[in-house]
């Protein structure tokens, strides 16, 4: 390993654990400030910058956990998930992995759910731009095209399955209100982006079925088939078209093939 590479390894080791002192030997001391004191500026800045990124990405989680627990979570994250992306935007993307394996967070199901909500909003915020299909385009489809129709949904469309009232907790925190007590409450929510703004709403079971199929295979025929669990053969086509129109109005659909 050449001298510069060795220096950089030692510097990075110090940033990640300031008890490693090899780099100190390479620093020129001065009358003003000892080498150790100079290096502290870098280790402090390293931790501070990463904590700031996590606090921004997980603002509601921070509010829910309080300073002490969130600080504990951040330190664990910084120690275990060093940044491998040039942009801080992606530094916190593995937070759910840590939350789901580290106590006490692991035992608090709603903490994982709130983490996923925050990640979903971050993902929808800057997911790829793609113009939505219009109802006019839908109306212009040939009758025979419906049999093999496939739809493609926007990258921002994400489903969030919840066992607790985590979305209500998140909403209260977002509005700077006291969150409700956590209670078991199965629900599924959808997060997506429309007109550059992230939106969310709860899904009823039939729409969840339809949307899950649309997201996995995109086949409209399979959406209809899956909806037979919820509706009669007569009702199903109208219901399926109704959902499709709603998704188009909400700018979730980016292609009809």
């Amino acid at each position: 390993m050449n001298t510069l590479r060795k220096l950089q390894y030692e510097f990075m080791d110090y940033l990640r654990d300031d008890s490693t002192a090899a780099i100190i030997e390479r620093i020129e001391p001065s009358l003003q400030c000892a080498a150790e004191q100079r290096m502290v500026f870098y280790s402090n800045a390293y931790t501070m910058r990463l904590k700031e990124a996590l606090s921004t990405d997980y603002e509601r989680l921070h509010s829910y956990l309080g300073d002490e627990l969130f600080n504990n979570l951040m330190h664990n994250y910084i120690d275990n998930y060093p940044s491998h992306h040039p942009s801080l935007r992606y530094f916190g993307q593995h937070m759910i992995e840590l939350v789901e394996q580290l106590e006490p967070f692991k035992s608090l199901t709603e903490v994982g759910e709130i983490t996923r909500i925050e990640q979903a909003f971050a993902n929808s915020f800057d997911s790829a731009d793609c113009p939505g299909v219009t109802l006019n385009q839908l109306a212009q489809l040939d009758t025979e095209a419906w049999a093999n129709l496939t739809l493609r949904l926007h990258d921002s469309v994400q489903l969030l399955v919840q066992k607790y009232n985590s979305f209500q907790i998140w909403q209260a925190l977002a509005n700077e209100e006291t969150p409700p007590q956590k209670t078991k409450c199965s629900s599924t929510w959808i997060v997506w982006r429309k007109d550059m703004i992230s939106h969310y709403r709860a899904l009823e079971s039939a729409e969840l079925t339809a949307l899950s199929v649309a997201m996995s295979t995109g086949s409209f025929a399979e959406v209809c088939e899956a909806l037979l669990e919820h509706f009669s053969e007569q009702e199903t086509p109208l219901k399926a078209v109704g959902y499709l129109q709603q998704w188009i109005n909400e700018q979730m659909v980016i292609a009809l093939n």
Binding site: L4, R5, Q8, Y9, E28, Q32, H84, F125, D129
Partner: protein, 296 residues
């Protein structure tokens, strides 16, 4: 040489998007932080496109890690080039530093030892980057808090030699010179006098904070008087150089920041003849010095 002169600009910050779009303030140009827009889509790029319609821009990065001993990050360079194609900036810049090693990013601008081995290493990498981007880049001097025992030249000797051999430009951060001069006990005017006039394409100005005996480059205060004074000295040496103020923390309302930029304009007007301060962008003057062909 005819250096393009964009006038006086500000760093584009999210806090100011609505104000800029609504008021179209009188600012000559904006500098964007490249990494903030290296995302697939959404609001950041939407705002960027709208503001770009009204203002010239330059791109300023923090993650090129030109001094790292890791291989150049080709995925990063690809995203950077894609953003360049979208923004069509007057130029792009990053820092004379390293930010990552062994695949781990520090998200900080870390200093390099100033010696011949580092120069050789950097020159080779700058050529590769410029070859890939098809144009010269600007590199900026850091604020630093340490120097290394294996440095054997001054920062300005190191910087000049790299710029000469790599055929790149210099973004001179006046505040960073002031900060490093204080932290490492050198005369900031020696730094200015040691830099090749023909390589300097842009100035940065910013505020800083005192932490005991050291000054930290925090970008959370107004530009202080000694830095304004150093700026005037720099103008005398380098002539009209596109100048902008960076503010990254405790960000004031846009009109307040605009007033601070007016101080820079005022100093330039008092220091340089009026005809030197005419806006002169690459598109206006067919300036081709940013085009780059590496034949080595």
């Amino acid at each position: 040489m005819t250096r393009p002169f964009l006038g006086f600009g500000l760093g584009l910050r999210t806090e100011h998007y609505p104000y800029i779009l609504e008021n179209k303030p009188d600012v000559d140009w904006f500098e964007i932080l490249s990494e903030n827009y290296m995302v697939p889509g959404g609001k950041p790029l939407d705002y960027l496109d709208k503001i770009r319609n009204d203002y010239p821009m330059v791109m300023h990065g923090v993650s090129l890690s030109i001094g790292s001993t890791d291989p150049l990050n080709t995925s990063y360079l690809k995203d950077l080039k894609q953003l360049m194609q979208r923004v069509q900036p007057e130029w792009i810049s990053d820092h004379l530093c390293w930010t990552s090693v062994n695949g781990t990013n520090s998200h900080d601008l870390l200093p390099l030892p100033y010696n011949e081995d580092t120069i050789t290493h950097l020159v080779n990498r700058i050529h590769k980057v410029q070859d890939y981007l098809g144009q010269r880049i600007l590199l900026e001097n850091l604020s630093s808090y340490v120097t290394y025992k294996n440095s054997d030249m001054t920062e300005w000797e190191f910087f000049n030699e790299i710029a000469r051999r790599a055929d790149c430009h210099i973004l001179l951060d006046i505040n960073n010179i002031f900060v490093s001069a204080h932290n490492h006990q050198f005369n900031p005017v020696d730094y200015l006098n040691g830099i090749d006039i023909n390589r300097v394409m842009q100035f940065h100005l910013a505020g800083h904070s005192y932490h005991g005996e050291m000054i930290i480059d925090t970008h959370d205060h107004d530009v202080c008087d000694p830095v304004w004074s150093l700026y005037a000295t720099a103008l005398k040496r380098f002539g009209a150089v596109s100048t902008m103020i960076e503010r990254d923390d405790d960000i004031p309302e846009f009109p307040q920041l605009r007033k601070e930029l007016a101080i820079a304009e005022d100093i330039a007007r008092k220091t340089l003849p009026a005809n030197a301060l005419q806006i002169n962008t690459s598109s206006h003057c067919n300036y081709t010095d940013l085009s780059y062909e590496h034949t080595a």
